[in-house]
């Protein structure tokens, strides 16, 4: 993986990398990606992918209101709150 690939990937993940991190994390990522190449040795022809071990179908519940009762406590967790609005810096 070249540096540009890493920078693009980091941008997608909203991870800011310093020059030092580009070097250290870059090496660590590359080491893992190289290691993943080992998976090429397995014959996967005809196999279906497993996304979850035992789930076969979606489970649905009745479409009904169920109050959580903790909305205020959830809002209290916000780092910056005005009334019941969570504040962020200016978008524009």
């Amino acid at each position: 993986m070249d540096t540009q690939d890493l920078v693009t990937t980091a941008g997608m993940a909203y991870i800011q990398l310093s020059d030092k991190e580009l070097e250290t994390l870059g090496k660590a990522v590359e080491q893992m990606v190289d290691f993943f190449e080992k998976m090429g040795e397995v014959n996967i022809e005809g196999l279906q992918p497993t996304t979850h071990a035992f789930i076969k179908k979606n489970r649905l519940r009745e479409d009904e209101v169920r109050p959580s009762g903790i909305a205020d406590e959830m809002l209290e967790q916000a780092p910056d709150l005005e009334d019941r609005f969570i504040c962020i810096p200016n978008v524009l």
């Binding site: 993986m1 690939d5 890493l6 990937t9 980091a10 997608m12 993940a13 909203y14 991870i15 800011q16 991190e21 250290t24 994390l25 660590a28 990522v29 080491q31 893992m32 990606v33 290691f35 993943f36 080992k38 998976m39 090429g40 040795e41 397995v42 996967i44 196999l47 279906q48 992918p49 497993t50 996304t51 979850h52 071990a53 035992f54 789930i55 979606n58 489970r59 519940r61 959580s68 903790i70 406590e73 959830m74 209290e76 967790q77 916000a78 780092p79 910056d80 969570i86 962020i88 810096p89 200016n90 978008v91």
Partner: protein, 470 residues
């Protein structure tokens, strides 16, 4: 400390609270297993619920520790990460609520590798947890705080989560029992997600009966977790254990780990079980497939931590994007950043087939291989980790070596099968445990074999932390 055997439930009575707090503060000075400890905080909830509960109270009065990625009302929920330093949970995870209903009391939150990513608990942003058997060594991870708290006798049991071995490995390092239930057997509602298709809530204890009671209490279908399953939907294939499979290829194991396995095999034979060698060549591919899938799921799950709705945010930021970038830069540790980068990379268009899709197909192949193996055996005996509890820092293992060492634990997560690690013999200064895997929803077989081996391979108290409450 003089051994004064008292029942655990005395510790939670008004006259016992002060002594219990002192006892934990004293013992935890050097072990450093708890991030937060307050035996009184949940007691109100417990009594309130007790009045309406009709369940039998097998766990009545037992205090327990909770890994800090499982929600307990009014306790912090840091996941061992700076980014969630300020978060206090406004609700209880399903497993916690069920334990409260059964009369058990959560008394604190235990240390862990940040978001469950690690094998030593040294990746915690808060403190270094030491192995009660040898303080120079790690307690394992990522549920290292839970394992150390149980081993040091601070609580009779603790909850953990297991995504790639995070209950079984620290349990084996600290000489206690550690159960990773079948995927979906225990609701994940209230567990902070890292790799949703792999992880489960489970428990650690020194006493196999307590562990079984905890599992029986927390298991079951939960409408709040789409992936939770009804144990009754699974066929009962085997009522009891007769034949235990062991790996034909046991190369690559440290001398002590090999010795622990040999001792276990002898103990199994003596207890009347038949032993059969099995071959699982695809185990060699469990680690790359596991890390591909776990990183991919982590990159998606950890996208929710952005410093906006909860958690830490930077003092100043130019705009919302800058806020998110700074919050994640300041809030996440190196190992977390590594796995997010890795996961984002393997999910990028152009790379998906090569990594993520291939890993999911290998996951199928590994499941098929285990299904075939369980046609001839009832349980499978495996090592937990190739080496015993290692030293902190540079004297121990590199982050990459730790990942390679997940070979024997990740199979249970990829296949969804249950696994139980047992306390092994104390070799040199630390216990060296082993694990059993069973067919899906056949936890009863794991408890059966654990009871059969209880007398020959007991959970030994650390020399410096003899049992006071039992």
């Amino acid at each position: 400390m003089a051994a004064q055997t008292r029942p655990w439930n005395e510790t939670l009575k008004p006259e016992g609270i002060k002594a219990y707090k002192q006892f934990v503060a004293e013992r935890d000075k050097q072990v450093a297993s708890f991030l937060e400890f307050d035996p009184l905080r949940a007691q109100g909830t417990s009594n309130e619920r007790a009045a309406v509960s009709t369940k039998s109270k097998t766990l009545e009065g037992l205090p327990f520790g909770v890994k800090d990625n499982i929600a307990v009302k009014n306790f912090h929920l840091t996941c061992g990460s700076k980014i969630l330093e300020s978060l206090v949970s406004p609700y209880n995870a399903t497993a916690i609520q069920k334990l409260l209903d059964a009369g058990a009391v959560p008394v604190g939150k235990t240390n862990m590798d940040e978001f469950g990513m690690g094998s030593s608990t040294d990746n915690s942003a808060y403190k270094t947890t030491n192995n009660p058997h040898d303080l120079t060594r790690v307690s394992g991870g990522s549920s290292g705080g839970s394992a150390a708290a149980v081993a040091a006798g601070l609580v009779p049991f603790a909850l953990g989560s297991d995504t790639g071995g995070s209950i079984r490995q620290p349990a084996s390092f600290c000489g206690v029992y550690g159960l990773k239930p079948t995927y979906g057997a225990v609701s994940r509602y209230g567990l902070v997600a890292y790799a949703s298709s792999l992880e489960v809530v489970g428990a650690l204890a020194k006493d196999i009966t307590i562990l079984e009671n905890v599992y029986e209490t927390i298991k079951g279908l939960d409408g709040r977790d789409q992936t939770s399953t009804d144990p009754n939907d699974f066929p009962l294939l085997k009522k009891e254990v007769k034949t235990v499979g062991v790996l034909a290829d046991r190369s690559g194991l440290d001398g002590m780990q090999a010795k622990s396995l040999e001792i276990s095999i002898e103990a199994l034979k003596k207890a009347g079980f038949a032993i059969k060698e099995v071959s699982l060549p695809l185990l060699d591919y469990a680690v790359p497939a596991y890390y591909t899938i776990a990183s991919a799921e982590a990159s998606a799950n950890l996208a929710r931590f952005n410093g906006i709705r909860y958690g830490n945010r930077p003092i100043y930021s130019e705009n919302p994007d800058d806020l998110v970038r700074q919050a994640r830069d300041q809030g996440f540790g190196d190992e977390v950043k590594l796995r997010i980068l890795l996961g984002t990379f393997v999910l990028r268009s152009g790379f998906q087939d090569q990594y993520y899709l291939r890993a999911q197909k290998i996951r199928t192949a590994i499941r098929n291989q285990f299904d075939r193996a369980f046609e001839d055996i009832d349980l499978l005996l495996l090592p937990v980790f190739p080496i015993p509890a290692f030293k902190h820092g540079d004297l121990g293992m590199t982050a990459f070596q730790q990942k390679l060492a997940d070979k024997y634990t990740t199979a249970a997560n990829l296949t969804g099968l249950p696994g139980l690690s047992l306390p092994g013999p104390v070799l040199e200064s630390v216990p060296v445990g082993m694990q059993f895997m069973a067919p899906a929803m056949h936890e009863h077989l794991l408890f059966q074999v654990a009871r059969a081996l209880q007398s020959s391979l007991p959970s030994a108290d650390p020399a410096a932390y003899p049992a006071v409450y039992s």
